[in-house]
Subunit: 223 residues, 2 copies
């Protein structure tokens, strides 16, 4: 009697994705380009935070933004208005960006002209956490109005990220959001994750996060 | 020469799901049970809104809540504390609920003891929109802090829903959220969708949405 052969589609997909992501990362490193994957719920403030970083860092680095979106060009337009190159990936339905999509975007960039690439992932706390995009660092934004319990509900996202930006901190008085409770839970789940309290609207805390980003770039690229 | 045969996995999955959802819906209708699928981003206020409805409607209807969650029991606990039966579906990674998951939950209920079932879907504006769960009505919550542009980015969700609750309306002064702009866009995309401005925190607007829900129940079940 033959053994039953089990083909785990998901495992295959994730493993192929992982290999491709490693290739992308190597290509970026070889070309002295640093890439960071920014993930969050819809409306947590991904575009605003990236725009705040562009403002602070564009004199130091040549920046491009890969924008993931199901259907619209809204965010790409904002980035272009800020004087930065935007590459729009229209997924047409997929709820995350994977390495093959990022490869297309990276291939469309002349890497010699860039130092820093932001990926603005699809607004979703679930699937993006599973897919390595080839970025050197992963970060997430959690906005105060979403609540401090999101770490209990979407633990994988909080586990894979190198940094967590708690955004819209200026609205904390309006919501029951306990930053200390969140920090304690994060410390158990992922003690290496750096946490920043930020308002990309008022600018509060943005420099501390940008400092972390600059340090990560220096560590990776050596300058 | 033979024709190439194309097997569209996604199409198969969605069509199987659709058939199963229709069976579930029929079973519920036969048993005089009304089910509504509540979808939203993480932290938009699904649990709070369902709790507000329970408070207002539990003398009139016998209610159960099917809770979708990747990993935690937080929401089920809140529902149980409100004196209502909760069935927790732990997806362990899937970013949406499908009809086969809901079938398991519905089969675990003695339908003769219930009139109204809420599905609290996974916090995600993408995939849940694609999967019919067997509910009679679909609704979504968009919270003010997420921004009024979400309808441009996640159009399918806004297209499939029968009602849209704009939640956290008490925080409108803190955010740039133009309700009229949202309504105009919604009117183009899905003119049949009812829109309610609500704060489940202060209770503002909740009765109008509950009235819509009661009317939908009456239309479906005839009492």
């Amino acid at each position: 009697m033959e053994d039953i052969q089990l083909i785990d589609i998901r495992e295959h997909i994730l493993s192929d994705n992982q290999n491709l992501a490693a290739e992308i990362r190597q290509k970026l490193t070889d070309n002295k380009v640093f890439m960071i994957n920014v993930m969050a719920s819809p409306g947590a403030g991904k575009t605003s935070l990236i725009l705040a970083a562009i403002k602070q860092l564009k004199r130091k680095y040549r920046i491009a933004v890969i924008e993931g979106d199901i259907d619209s060009l809204v965010d790409s337009q904002k980035v272009t208005d800020a004087g930065v190159r935007a590459i729009q990936i229209r997924t047409g339905g997929d709820c995350h960006l994977d390495a093959s999509m990022i490869q297309m975007a990276v291939d469309s960039l002349d890497l010699q002209n860039y130092d820093l690439v932001f990926i603005e992932n699809i607004g979703n706390l679930v699937c993006p956490a599973e897919f390595d995009t080839g970025a050197h660092k992963k970060m997430m934004i959690l906005s105060v109005p979403e609540g401090d319990d999101k770490i209990l509900k979407y633990p994988l996202m909080f586990t894979v990220c190198d940094a967590l930006v708690v955004n819209k901190i200026d609205t904390q008085s309006m919501f029951d959001f306990d930053v200390e409770k969140l920090k304690k839970r994060a410390d158990v789940l992922n003690p290496n994750m750096e946490i920043f309290e930020v308002s990309s609207k008022t600018g509060k805390g943005v420099p501390f996060w940008c400092e972390w980003l600059e340090q990560a770039i220096t560590e990776q690229l050596g300058y």
